[in-house]
């Protein structure tokens, strides 16, 4: 097992929810409603991303996966917890070392329309970080941009064109070229194919696989498309309401999920081989991260809930080699 490239320890990220107009007015007259509301996006997550692996991070809207990805890139500071990059605590890094960490961890965004500056041509978009951080002599930047564009399957002759002159799939390639230009070790991809057409999705997934093979790239691959995560990931972590509920080797987790939420989520993945399926919903709704339930966050919707589930929150514990789940059912099994 290789050493962790990035290690997240006890990462918590809260946001304070905006107060409504009525609450502001009440506050101004001294009737402030106790505390400002806290949105608990991520709660005490431990996660390591090992060198050379593809770690899939899945969960439904609002589970905190994108927030966790942003914390991992250093864009978003955690409310609590620490990050270690290549074995060193990011908080203790010198200015120069911190810059190196920020450059070595690059992000690919979901929306190839919103994440490219429309007033810059492709050469400037892809070469900007190289120029700003003086990573390459000015005279070499054009050649580096050309190399990055070729690697992502774009004709370098397009370097002078602007983002609006490209299709969605081509723009996503530009976004990937921008990330690759600074020679990163880790690509954090947040829903990188969700906005693309089916036939284009396969092209971009293949590009990620090619980059992995050629550069031994490490990935944190965040998506709600479970079929694609299953295809690209070595390990997968499943989040629910700000916490990881199960983590382990992707093929094992997908073929025999242990946590009841993981099982429900994976069971819901549409498949070409099932016909005239009778769709069965999971009862209830995802609770608000403003007011998570007591005990296990999934217990109000869980068909297997025990009395203890509403009282004590289960911790992530080993259930098999390399696999962990946060569920009292498995703790009970292990004890008996």
């Amino acid at each position: 097992m290789s050493a962790p490239l990035l290690e997240l320890k006890g990462i918590t990220r809260h946001f304070s929810a905006k107060r409504s107009l009525a609450e502001h007015i009440l506050g101004a007259f001294g009737h402030a409603s106790a505390q400002p509301k806290i949105l608990r996006a991520v709660e005490g997550v431990d996660l390591e991303i090992r060198k050379g692996e593809v770690l899939g991070l899945v969960g439904e809207s609002g589970c905190g996966k994108s927030t966790l990805a942003r914390v991992a890139t250093g864009i978003l500071p955690p409310t609590a917890g620490s990050l270690a990059y290549a074995g060193r605590d990011v908080a203790t890094l010198s200015r120069a070392q911190r810059l190196e960490y920020l450059l070595k961890v690059q992000m690919v965004f979901q929306d190839p329309y919103a994440s490219l500056d429309p007033r810059m041509n492709v050469e400037r978009i892809v070469g900007e970080a190289l120029a700003v951080h003086k990573l390459a002599p000015r005279g070499d930047i054009a050649a580096r941009v050309e190399k990055a564009l070729t690697e992502v399957g774009l004709d370098p002759a397009y370097a002078k064109r602007y983002p609006h002159q490209f299709s969605g799939g081509q723009r996503q390639r530009i976004g990937i070229a921008r990330a690759l230009a600074v020679e990163p070790d880790l690509l954090v991809c947040d829903e990188p194919v969700s906005a693309l057409d089916v036939s284009i999705q396969a092209q971009i997934v293949n590009l990620f696989l090619d980059i992995r093979a050629k550069r031994a790239m490490t990935y944190l691959f965040v998506s709600h498309d479970l079929g694609i995560v299953r295809h690209v990931s070595d390990r997968v972590a499943i989040m629910y309401l700000g916490r990881i509920v199960e983590i382990g080797p992707a093929q094992e987790v997908f073929s025999s999920p242990a946590h009841p939420y993981a099982a429900a989520l994976i069971g819901a993945i549409p498949s070409l081989s099932r016909r005239k399926r009778s769709f069965e919903p999971i009862p209830g709704e995802m609770p608000s991260p403003l007011a998570p339930p007591s005990g296990c966050p999934f217990h109000p919707r869980c068909a297997h809930a025990l009395p203890v589930c509403s009282e004590r929150r289960p911790v992530l514990a080993p259930i098999a080699p390399g696999r962990q789940a946060a569920c009292h059912l498995h703790a009970a099994e292990a004890a008996s």
Binding site: V205, G227, I228, A268
Partner: protein, 331 residues
Amino acid sequence: MSTKKRDTALIEVRGLTTVFHAENGAWPAVQDVSFVLRPGEVLGLVGESGSGKSVTGFSLVGLIDPPGEIVAGEIRYGGEDLRTLAPERLRALRGDRIAMIFQDPLMTLNPVLTIGEQMAEAILEHHDESRSGALARAAQALARVGISSPDARLKQYPHELSGGMRQRVAIAIAMLNGPDLIIADEPTTALDVTIQNQILHEVQKLARESGTALLWITHDLAVIAELADRIAVMYSGYIVETGPVDAIIDRPRHPYTAGLLASAATHAQPGERLRQIDGMAPRIDSRPSGCPFRTRCDRASPACAGAMPPPQGDETHLFRCHNPLPAGGTP
């Protein structure tokens, strides 16, 4: 069970062609599209962006505004041609016998009315009923799509709900009057899989128990494999292949259908490259002559640059291709 006859056509579309007028010509978004939908049947209309699948759905219910225009074809519904129907008669059908669900629920929802007001309006517009009766039915419909505390939701405005909740409200509105046909345009694309399951569970029940027919427009072949009875695959305005689910998924004849299926992640070993269709769909104003797929097709021959071939095959499984894949199994 339904009393509606399940063997006769509910809606029959023949030769539908919808164009968009521009300075440099009239470009066909939908070309020579024909299909039949029977009561209780689910037809999946599958295609990528720009394939014409949404315009087909909009054309059926007369929601094509200039510069768009339906220039040819018939849309037979209950002995009438919807194309030539008086606008007020079409309005009476829409929202009652024929309902539409859009990808963006804000196309359905009025921002200045509460959920209860607009749901009651959707009922009272078409039926003689008391307001309290309509609100009670609205609350039931919300509960059916998995919305908790429906009575409280009726008093809320659309902006107070999350995106997934809004879409479920839009779907509840579509189901309110027990329509004969629901046209659903990518209704669950933006939703999470568990919410998608909830909605598919409800529409499936509606189709099975009330005999509502569904035209389910999507780019997601896996969802349609699980939900539909029949599939029609669109590319550049044409239905290039149509047939029963098993035939289309297991024994596709058109190279585009086969390519889409082969590119699915479930068809490859984990971590291996996916089979991809190179290139991208041509823009509406720069489609190649003849078969529009020929420039991306590995089976293309000189004949493909000629004319788009007419539908061929047996009665149920039709495809438009000069060089179809052999019958009897995926290559």
